[in-house]
Structure formats: structure tokens, C-alpha cells
Amino acid sequence: MNGPIRRLFYATVALFAALLGMLAYQQVVNASSLANNPYNTRKVYAQMSIDRGLILASDGTELAKNREENGLYYRVYPQGDLASPLLGYNDVKYGQTGLEHSENDYLTGTADEVELTNFFDMLSGKQQIGANIKLTLDPKVQRTALSDLQNLGKRGSVVALDVRTGAVLAMASTPTYDLNNLDADWNQLNQDPNGPLLNRATEGLYTPGSAFKLVTTAAALESGDFNPDSKFNDEKGTLNVNGNIIHNWRDQPFGEHTFAEAFAQSINTTFAQVGEKLGQDKLVEYQQKFGLYEKPPLELPPDEIAISGRYENGSLASPGAGLDPVQVAWMAIGQENLQVTPLQMAMIAQAIGNGGVMMKPYVVDSIMDRDSTVIKQTSPSGWKQPIRPDTAKTMTDLMVKVVNDGTGFGARSDKVQIAGKTGTAEVSGRGPNAWFVGFAPAQDPKVAVAVVVENADESGHDSSPIARDVLLAALGM
């Protein structure tokens, strides 16, 4: 009987080898496919059983907190729609966006710095607890920005930065949505042609139009070929560049004028000539100095921050790509497929207001554990120096003139001197994009702002009052 017993054992070995093979297949080969199966909720539940950190505004207002139910934590946003695309969502079904995504390691307590303090908690068997995040966002400024945009009832965005630090004080985008109703509204939000889920402040690419004359002016002043008193003559209100006609606003002729007047009245013909004279290389050099063609280093997920620059067929063009004189002239007045984000324009204003030093924009002020002990504090740091301090001073004067005697009169305030630049970028098929980019107080800049309103009133003055309100709110006036 020993023969069959031995063979029976071999058969058993074969069966067990099959078990081992299948086990290895399921745990190694098939593991990632099992993990990514949409019905595999273990990751989600693991995530939901973490007491996620709070997100607080600069004054301690709770922007995101948790509701506990049966040991699972559900996210609650006490401020509703106040800063939805910035905060982003953390949803079992729809994943994560915004700061909920980019700061996830801190919020869940898995980041190295947090884990260190949690180690003893872990030994004593405490649940994993996330760290709190304090933002630089000022709820008053944010509320002003959002309600001004909402009252206008148009798509648009506002970004306000602290001029000295680069801290984000407000970041609004309309239309928006209430984070608490994400699940109920999901289909509608996704189908809405107005794109409420979009963070226009960082993802929205807009033609800057005349607002971009800030960059052209910086290049012009630093080239030494132009100063505010440089003389120009405009008799026709149009300019023929190699057979291509560049128009002033409503083809208005301005006659004899200075560079400063051209800036204040946003004279396209003059800036097209300036651009032609400076040439493509100089213009592009200053665009890059101001951070275009680069992703601004804000803490949001990289795929939610668009790069500003010249676009060709929907993708970012190489800055060095050769352009003909007509294209260069158009570029000088902020056309020629230039696409910028409101964040980028706010950063340009911030740099001019800050004596030519562009700060790294940031929105996370600090990471704190639950006892409010600061684990990590963001210290402001310079990112670029696009222009000299004296150029910044000269530009400030030019920008004051825009508000006091020029196109930016809508932003005028008797409480504080505001400096800025408007832009009315034509968009085919609908009303223009109206810009206001500036800062205040002009003599001692503290807050920079960029406002864009889509499908704006033909006069292009939708943005200036919003900019004024936001600046005043930020200055506590």
C-alpha cells in the first residue's frame, strides 16, 4: 500500500502547489487590479476612519471639520460655498481635489512631521489623528470677493495677495458650489456648462488684453528706450503693422501724448509700436521674469494650477518660438494667444507693489497638531525679482494715474489710493473679459489683487469696483 500512499502525498503536494501559486497570483500579480476595483472600499473606509484635520481660515474660522458617525468621519464645511474650489473635496466616490488633496498627508496625519508626534499615541493605541491646517485666507476678504462676483452673476475670479509675503488673502471663482451638497449635486455640477467645479483663479486661462501692458511697460522702462515722458503721436486710432490693423478702443485717436498717458488710457497703437521696437526676445524675457511659462509654486495640486504663457492649439508654446512683427505687436498689447491665470496676474501686481520682488504665493500658513502646537510654519520667501526697485516705483506712479485719470476710474476710492491697470480682452462670440490688476495703498502697498469677469459689460468696467471692494476689505477699511 505504500506506493499509492506515496503517490497520494505527491498529489497532495500538487494541490498545495496550486494553492501557493494562486495565492501568489492574487497577492502579487492581481493585487493592484483588486485594489483598484471600484467596489473595493477598504482604502476609502481606512481613509474615513481617520479623524481628519480641520482646515481653518487665518482668523480661526472653521472651513472644514468632521462629523463622526459610527466611528467614521464625514467632512463638513461650515462656510458652505465660501472657498470651495480652493478647499476642494474629500469624497469617497469622487476622490480628492484642492487643498484636501494636496495637504492630505498632513490632514490624515501620515506626513513624517505629524507621525513623529503621533508615535507615542500609536503605541498607546490611539486612533490616527490628522493635523489641522491654518490658511492665510481672510474670510472677510474672501466673502467680499465671492459676493461681489455672485452679485454680478457672471463667471469670474478674484485673487488677493499680501504684497509683502505672497500670502493668499482671497481666492474666489464663480459660479461655485456648496461643498456640503457635492454628492446630491454631482451630476448637475458636472454637466453645468459654466463649470462650477473649476478653480478659475488657478485653472482659468484668460486673454489678459491691456492688463498685460504691465509686463510690456516693465520691459520698455528697463530697456532705457522709453520713459513715462516719451512722446507718441496717434492720429488715426489704428496702426498698420505689415498690413495688419491694430485698433484702439473704438478706434479712438489720441493725438500727441506721452508714454504715461498711453498707459493710463491704454492706447493699443502706442503699445504695439513699443512692442515692435522692443522685439520678441525682450518681451518674452520679461514675461519669463514675471513667472510666465512656469507653474506658480502654490500648495494646490499641480494639475489644478495652469501655466500662463502663449498657447498654440491649446497647449503651451515654446517661449522662444519665432513670431513675425505683427504677432509681436499683438503680444505687446496682451493678445496673440497669450493666456494667463488670475493668480499669475495677481502675482505680477504683488511684485510691482513689493519693489520688484515677486514672493512665492502660499495659502497654508501653518500646520498644527490638535493641541495647536505648530508643527510647520510657512515663512514667506522671494521667488523672482522681475524688475528693479526704481522701475517698480515708476510703474506704481503710472498705475496711480490709471485709477485717477484713466481707464481704472471705477476702482477709485476716497479712503485709499489704489494703483492698477485695466484690461478689456475681446473674446469672439460674447462680451469681453474685464480685468483689473493692482494694489493698495499705492504709497505703501500691502494688498495686491487681480479680478477677471467673463462676458463683461461692453464698457469693460465690471472688474474695477470689485477690486476696490476687495482691497478695502483686506485693508480693513
Binding site: G3, R6, T12, F16, L19, Q26, N37
Partner: protein, 447 residues
Amino acid sequence: MERRRELVSFLPVLLLTVVGFASVYAARSSQIGAGSLGYGLLFLGIFLVIHVILRLAAPHADPLLMPITGLLAALGIMMIYRIDPALAAAQATWLLVGVGLFAAIIFFLRDYRKLDDYIYVLGLAGVLLLAVTAVAGQDPNNSGVRLWLKIGGMSIQPGEFSKILITIFLAGYLHSKRELLSTTTWHLAGIPMPPVKHLGPLLTVWGMSFGMLLLMNDLGPSLLLFGIFLAMIYVATNRLSYPGIGLVLMSAAGLVAYFTKAVVHLRVDIWINPWTDIQSKGYQLAQSLFAIGDGGLFGTGLGKGYLLLANGRPVVPALHTDFIFSAIAEELGLVGASGLIILFLLLCHRGFKIAIHAEDGFSKLLAAGIAAGFGLQTFFILGGVMKLIPLTGITLPFVSYGGSSIVANFASLALLILISNRTNSARAGTGRSAARPLPAASSEGAA
């Protein structure tokens, strides 16, 4: 000699047990009390008792059987403890009952070969147990399977015990009829075949298994019973034609069952594709696969896997019984779970080894039947939870939660211990150097 090896082999087992319970405690101390060390002590105590019993009553018994099964039982109770400490306390009680029965068998059944005289009584008892379950069986947890019998306040699974009784019966019966059953009168495609009139036993067991399947609605026990029978008749006759014909009959029965029994149809459909109805019918297997996949190479660590929902219920239904391997694979990973599979293979190896060395046909058949039973049962349930074969509801020996299973498996283990003790005692008596030629080898070719 054997007992010293046993004692030495048990040291790493005890160490693993203590470390295991300590890590479960460390990972889940907020949810569970500090009883883990108690279980380490319990295992130490149980093993010392068994060791002393064996020293007294079966000093030459195989030295590795107890360390292997001890480790399996420790791993099982550790996982059960991690899933639900209250169940672990019940399992520990059953473990003590099992050890009690084990000791009783070792002491009072030292001459287990006397069982050969009572095989018809034992066999009848085994069949009756099944018949009673089939008629009066209950389904307390609504699994659609009637495997339980309520006696007093307790639910027992008679199938676990009738498995042993029928194995003993088959050992005796096949031993006495082996020459008759080994005759071949005709050939099918070159394979020698027994005369049709001798197919009676095969057809009887087949009919019984099929009847069990139809009446109790479950694949596991009937498949296992039939599998053990095929293994034993093959060992007895050395005729591949028996398992061959048996597999054909089983396939036919399976085919009929697939088209007539909803539960069988369902199990096969889920096996082929658990994802189509993942929210209800395929849920258990899908969750089992998710758990196994989550384990990866090294596992999440004891106590750290996603085994329980927020309300404390297991993610995989029947996690502590049929699906305990999924929990082990998740928390101990490929490394730990393959270790478990290899441990079972070692157990089978010891069993078959004991069968080969046993001196009489009854002992050989009994040991081989028990070893084949452990092997098949392990294969059926592990293959089921990892989607190698359709799922059959059956416990993982020594590891799964369940009083009947634990107690019955300890009884089987006691029989293996007794057989090995007898063989090794005889050898020790005749001198270790002069290993006698195995008597079975000479009588094998009887045609």
C-alpha cells in the same frame, strides 16, 4: 527521544504565539482588553499537559504532529481573537474540550486497532449522524446550508464527527475487502478495471455523498467524504480505476447538481465571475479577494488589516470560520499565508509518513485516510476563498472557529498519534538499526 524533539520544536511555536498575541494587542488595545498574554499562557499550559500525557501514554508518537497543530490552533485563535475577543474565549473553551477528548482517546483507546472489530457499528453511527442532520438539521445563521444539529442549547456539526467514524469504517472495510476489490477482469483503454459487481461500495458512497449534497444543500462535506473514500480505496487497491470512475461519477453528479440545485449553480457562477453581482451574491468572495490582495507580500501586520466595519461586523462574512484564511492572508501577507499552507502540507506529510511506516493495513488505511482528509479539506476551503475552485463551505482544520471542527480534528489527531506511537514502539522494540521491510510492500501486487 521523540518527546524531547517535540519539546524543542514547541519552543518556536510558543514564541510565535506570544509575539502574535502581543502584536494584536498592540495594534488594537483601544478595542480589546489585555487578555492576550492569557492566551499565551493557555497555550503553554495546554501544550505541557499534552506533552505529559504523551510521555505517559504514547512516548514514541510522532514528535512534530503536536507542534504543527499547536501552531495552527494558535494562529487560528489569534486571528479569531483579533476579529472578536468573545469568540476567542469560546474557541479556547472548545480547544480545552478537544484536548480532553484527545487525552481520553490516548488513554482509553491505546489499542485503537480494536476499532476494527466495531467498524460496522461505527460506520452506521456515522451515516446515522448524517441522516439525522439531513432530516432535522438546522441553519442557524441563514447560510442556506443545513449542517447544524441542536442538542440541548448547543449547535454541533455532526458532519465533522461522522467524517472520522466513516474514515474508521472505511479503513476496516477496505482492509478486509482489498483483495477482492483489487481484482481486475477487463481493461478500458489499457487501464485494468474491476468487475462491475465490485463497484458496489463505490456506488454506495457516491450515492450517499450525492444524497448529502441534495438534502443538506452543501458541497463541502459531501465532496470531502467522497474524496476521502477515493483516496482510501486507491490506497487499499492500488487501482487508479477507482478514483478514475469516482471522478467521472462525481462530475456527473456535479453536473446534475449544477442544473438542479440553486446553491451549486450559484457557487459555480460566483467562482467564474464574482464581479457581476458583487453587491449581493458575489460580495463574500469579492471581499475575500480584496482582503487577500490587500495583504500583498508581507501583509498589513496583525491587527492592522481592514477586517472589521465601523460597526464591528467583519467585512468578509464568515470571516472567523470558512474565510479565516482571507484574514490571515491580509494581515500576514504572502509570506505568512504561504507559511500556513506549508504548515498544512507538513501536517499531511507527517500523516502519510505515519501511514507508510504503520505495520498493518488497517493502521495504514486509517492514517492515510486522516491525512488525505486534512489535505482535501484544506485544499477545498483555501482554494475556495482564493477563487482557485468554486467555494465549498467547510472549515480550515484547527484554524477556523467552530467547536465541532476543533474537537473532531483533535480526535483525528489522537488517532494519528496512537498509530505512530504503535509503529515507533514496535521499531524501538526490535532495534532501531534493523528497519524491517514494510509488510505492505509484499502484498501489494495481489491481483
